[in-house]
């Protein structure tokens, strides 16, 4: 099973389908009426056709979206062809459903040149239409609309490519980059409609296969699980939340409104869920208690390069900068606050971090350059800085530094999430068991995130002696080190 396949299936909903088909359909049907809930249904790859039919009937506005679903009812394809608006043609072009030759011809007749070219990207586009596209008039092309190049790309990669066009395409430089990723040669050599003899010829001319791997957006896949929606849309009946909670859905561990189950939570799923959780519950749960530990500092970094983000820093040599620890919360969060003003010492630190030369080369104001000269020479014994000088440097720095700056921040408990120290023992145990299970499996994809969470617990002054002892035994150097900060 690929990573995409693993995360695109909602394990809780699919388990329900296996164990209790009637309740499964009841739940899905309960989502049909509300527009937002219906959107969840059409974005989930495994929603059955009969549910999609109900959504299409109830929400005409979602029909175009349903055309992108593999279980789209055939009647909707017929409807889209009949409508033949720009929107329905575009939806048909990218629809995963196969389209018959006759339907293609009907759509084709209603398309403009750009839409016809787009249709050739479909792998079931008939050979004669590929030929027609090749012979189209591209004289209206411009710098902003290069239909000819798009047609070349689509035809070169299409298994129904006419033999004649293979010969034509091979007259062009094979290393011409077409779609920004693959060359004419690479598109042809990877095309199943091109003969082995031609591929051998392409190889002789130096063409090599190059697979462009699509990036898997795990967060988006998990976000689409219909079982999550029951916790987000609070108007859905509580019995469904109870149902998924009893199946050890990750949301039921941290959200104290939900029932914790005695079943074992799947560490792999829960960890991935916590990473992708837009509510940042695990951070809201584990960070605020750390304010009681004098060795822990919170920072907020404003950066157009990395994106604005908050993180924790530990006094000493406990290094949490590895990206895989996920010691970052991107964007602004109401529960994380910072003064957004640099102190005198922070301005001096920013100047020192960039250096005088860097500032000199960035079209500085006179004030920041003088401030940089003073702060760079402050330890040479040539002068002392007056109070007026400190204020001058403070003001100059706050005027000048508007990017890539870090402020001291505070993390306070968020009303939507109880912090660890306020959770009951059972929930604390459930969280700890997830972390411990992940730490026991070094092959776990998110092992480092588990280590990070273990370290957060180790730094939490409110943990029990029992948890402390178990963390001592955990197979993680980071966690052990954190216990002795």
């Amino acid at each position: 099973m690929t990573t995409a396949q693993m995360w695109e299936q909602d394990p809780y909903l699919e388990n329900l389908k296996e164990s209790d088909s009637e309740t499964y359909f009841d739940y899905l049907n309960s989502l049909v009426s509300d527009l937002d809930s219906a959107r969840v249904l059409i974005s989930y790859k495994f929603t059955p056709q009969q549910i999609l039919e109900a959504v299409a009937k109830k929400h005409p506005v979602l029909r175009v979206g349903i055309l992108q679903h593999t279980n789209c009812p055939n009647e909707l394809v017929a409807w889209a062809i009949k409508e033949a608006t720009e929107e329905t043609i575009s939806a048909l072009t990218s629809s995963p459903l196969s389209i018959s030759g006759d339907d293609f011809a009907t759509i084709w007749a209603k398309c403009d040149i750009a839409q016809r070219v787009a249709l050739t990207s479909r792998l079931d586009c008939p050979t004669d239409l590929l030929m027609d596209t090749w012979n189209s008039d591209f004289s209206e092309d411009s710098l902003f609309e290069n239909n000819r190049e798009i047609a070349f790309t689509n035809i070169a990669g299409n298994p129904n490519i006419p033999k004649k066009l293979i010969v034509e395409l091979m007259k062009y430089p094979l290393d011409s980059l077409l779609d920004g990723q693959l060359t004419i040669g690479q598109l042809l050599i990877q095309n199943s409609g091109v003969s082995d003899e031609t591929k051998a010829l392409l190889a002789l001319r130096g063409v090599e296969k190059r697979v462009v791997e699509a990036e898997i957006d795990v967060q988006r896949l998990i976000y689409r699980w219909p079982s999550n929606h029951v916790y987000e849309a609070r108007n859905i009946q509580q019995k469904y939340r109870d149902l998924f909670s009893s199946m050890a859905h990750p949301e039921s561990i941290l959200d104290t409104r939900e029932n914790l189950t005695e079943k074992k939570y799947d560490a792999k799923t829960v960890l991935q869920y916590w990473i992708t959780d837009s509510n940042k519950r695990i951070y809201k749960c584990l960070w605020p208690d750390l304010a009681e530990n004098p060795q822990v500092n919170f920072f907020y970094s404003g950066s157009s390069w990395e994106g604005d983000h908050a993180y924790i820093g530990i006094v000493g040599d406990l290094d949490l900068t590895d990206e895989e620890f996920k010691n970052k919360i991107h964007g602004t969060e109401a529960w994380i606050t910072s003064s957004n003003t640099l102190s005198f010492d922070e301005v001096v630190e920013e100047i020192s971090g960039r250096g005088f030369v860097d500032i000199l080369e960035s079209e500085p104001t006179e004030e920041i350059l003088i401030s940089a000269a003073i702060s760079e020479r402050a330890n040479d014994g040539l002068f002392s800085i007056t109070d007026k000088g400190k204020q001058y440097i403070h003001d100059a720095g706050n005027d000048w530094f508007d990017d890539d700056i870090t402020f001291v921040a505070e993390a306070k408990p968020d009303p939507s999430q109880k912090v660890w120290s306020k959770l009951d023992t059972n929930r604390q145990k459930a969280i700890f068991n997830v972390i411990q299970s992940a730490l026991d499996d070094k092959s776990e994809e998110n092992y480092k995130f588990a280590e990070y969470l273990g370290a957060l617990l180790a730094l939490n002054p409110s943990i029990s002696q029992e948890v402390r002892l178990q963390l001592e035994k955990a197979p993680s150097d980071l966690t052990k080190k954190a216990l002795h900060v």
Binding site: I370, I385, K388
Partner: protein, 78 residues
């Protein structure tokens, strides 16, 4: 050197810097090149900091500033 003499030296450097910037239309990086480097530019800027009362200089700064003044005079003359 008395405190007021040091201030006068700093003011002269500050004036020469202003002359280079306004009359000669030199940017700070040009002045750094003319003076011999970023270290020298930093020292010249410290003269402005003295004039503005941002720093309290020690005697160790005097010979450095005197040398900067001579360099600046040479650049202005040229």
């Amino acid at each position: 050197m008395a405190k007021d003499e040091l201030l006068a030296l700093a003011q002269r450097i500050h004036g020469l810097m202003g002359q280079l910037a306004e009359d000669e239309e030199l940017y700070y990086d040009d002045i750094a090149s003319e003076l011999g480097g970023e270290d020298e530019l930093q020292m010249a800027l410290l003269a402005t900091a003295i004039v503005e009362g941002l720093i309290e200089p020690t005697e160790a700064l005097i010979p450095i500033l005197q040398e900067i003044e001579e360099n600046l005079k040479g650049i202005v003359k040229a």
